[in-house]
């Protein structure tokens, strides 16, 4: 069989397996791939393994899957496990962050700020005391879980080239990969800008960490600036979460993050 035919067979399976077609580069990937001569001649850019249960979708081996009814893995088990641990810890962080916030829903810029000094802005909610105790305990426990999980995920991502393959936006090189360029860019921003930013601004509020590394807070212009930025970054995480969950619901993608398969 000619190489190009083999590839095209793979496309057909993919589209059949995933009726929503959210994984393919265009709404009509078969006709689009015809227009792209590079597609027919480019070999898989990395070694191909044939066990479909252990190979990720972003691997080009999907193209070589021969049995028409074989399940296609969308997410590796490490991605799925770290995803759900992170999801739980981020939920914990958002809830506990809110519990801490309501004790003083005012924001400042610079080193200091308190009642009796001008604020940058005030949230339109009353001061609510008595929740920061459990809020702080839960916040720091969740932060540890989230950061340690993130470290495991990041090491995996660099080692297996998961980030480069699955998340680096590119045009024609990998037409079957899971996410479109906007999604890829969003995930990269969340993983490499939002999360590091929220960790650093969080640590910048720690007097013990600041005593070891004062630059972590002076770079933001002060402890209250770090607190304000921490709040805005948390808002962006919340926004991402809402869009992410909406898209999962609309596209029926929930199951693939549990079983790893696109369709059972």
């Amino acid at each position: 069989m000619e190489n190009g035919n083999l590839h095209r067979a793979g496309v057909t399976q993919l589209v059949e397996c995933d009726l929503a077609k959210v994984d393919v580069a265009g709404s009509n990937p078969v006709s689009r791939s015809k227009k792209n001569p590079a597609f027919h001649t480019t070999p898989a850019p990395f070694p191909v393994r044939y066990n479909p249960r252990t190979v990720m979708a972003e691997s080009a081996s999907v193209q070589r899957t021969s049995a028409p009814d074989s399940a296609t893995i969308a997410h590796s088990s490490l991605v799925r496990v770290t995803h759900w641990i992170a999801a739980l810890s981020i939920l914990g962080l958002l809830v506990s962050g809110g519990a801490i916030l309501v004790a003083h829903p005012r924001f400042y810029w610079g080193e200091t700020g308190s009642v009796g000094t001008p604020s940058l802005f005030d949230l339109p909610i009353p001061f609510l005391f008595g929740h920061s105790g459990w809020g702080r305990y839960l916040h720091f426990l969740s932060a540890w879980v989230c950061v340690l999980t993130g470290v495991v995920y990041a090491l995996y991502g660099f080692r297996t080239k998961h980030f480069r393959r699955a998340l680096l936006p590119r045009r024609a090189a990998a037409p079957f990969t899971t996410y479109n360029p906007v999604q890829r860019l969003t995930y990269l921003v969340v993983i490499f800008i939002l999360f590091p930013g929220i960790i650093i601004t969080g640590l910048a509020m720690s007097p013990a960490i600041v005593s070891v590394l004062p630059e972590i807070v002076t770079v933001f212009g002060g402890q209250q600036s770090a607190r304000t930025l921490h709040f805005f970054l948390a808002d962006l995480v919340l926004l991402f979460l809402l869009v992410h969950v909406s898209m999962v619901v609309v596209n029926h993608r929930f199951r693939s993050m549990i079983t790893g398969e696109r369709r059972a």
Binding site: H104, G116, S132, W134, F140, P207, V212
Partner: protein, 250 residues
């Protein structure tokens, strides 16, 4: 066929991890990396934070000090002075009769008057104080180093904590890393004046590497000890008893 060795591997691996972590906890406890409120689910997070920060701050890392021009315009406080007859009597007479007693694992248990403390080498520092609620201010604090007082009374090398008892219920304790720290102050002055009553007159603790609530106000007694188990509920301070962590370096 292949399942059994895999399962055995899993069980042995699990046992190895459990054994290693048990040993790790014992070693960490001996090297002062476990906080007194280590129990429960939240204690895991607290222990990770405290242990990590104690390793990072091991070389007496210094809190930032500021310029006089950076001193804040407002200095809010939480809570009233002690509703305590003895304290109110001392306060009414400008704390002339007030004494600080220092006891426990010391060679010479001593009581200090305010004048005694003021005759010791004095230190002023302009530091940042953040409340766990989120607000903060910068102020100048003047007083005597806790380390100087500990040397004076001959604190034992066996000491692991120093506990602070005020005229209200808000007792607390520090580990020796913070007790010997060159910025841990027993402050009797604030912004160039005697310590105002809402800020803890006549004497308060100042621990600039931790949140504000560790800086105990209205001090009456200091005890040097090798265990916190028999004080209060054994969590190291009033804070864990009312839902806040003992260590506040965050």
């Amino acid at each position: 066929m292949s399942e059994r060795p895999a399962r055995r591997k899993l069980v042995l691996g699990g046992l190895a991890i459990a054994g290693a972590s048990g040993l790790g906890v014992r070693l960490a406890s001996r090297s002062g990396l476990i906080p007194p409120d280590y129990g429960g689910l939240f204690g895991i997070g607290e222990t990770l934070t405290y242990g990590t920060q104690r390793i990072l701050t091991a070389r007496h890392s210094l809190a930032r000090e500021f310029d006089r021009s950076q001193i804040s315009k407002a200095f809010p406080v939480n809570g009233p002075p002690p509703q305590n007859e003895l304290y109110e009597r001392y306060a009414a007479r400008a704390f002339g009769q007030w004494r600080l007693s220092v006891d426990g694992l010391v060679a010479r248990a001593t009581t200090f008057s305010l004048a005694d403390l003021k005759s010791l080498p004095r230190r002023s520092q302009i530091t940042h104080q953040a409340c766990e609620e989120g607000w903060s201010f910068i102020a100048e604090w003047t007083g005597v180093l806790l380390a100087d007082v500990l040397k004076l009374v001959g604190a034992s090398p066996r000491a692991r904590y120093v506990a602070f008892f005020p005229y209200d219920n808000n007792w607390d304790s520090l580990d020796m890393a913070d007790a010997w720290h060159p910025q841990t102050l027993l402050a009797y002055g604030m912004n160039g004046q005697d310590l105002p009553q809402p800020h803890g007159a006549p004497l308060r603790l100042r621990v600039p590497r931790q949140l504000g609530y560790k800086s105990v106000k209205y001090l009456a007694r200091i005890t040097v000890t090798d265990t916190l188990k028999h004080i209060g509920k054994g969590f190291g301070s009033i804070s864990p008893e009312i839902g806040y962590s003992w260590y506040a370096g965050i």
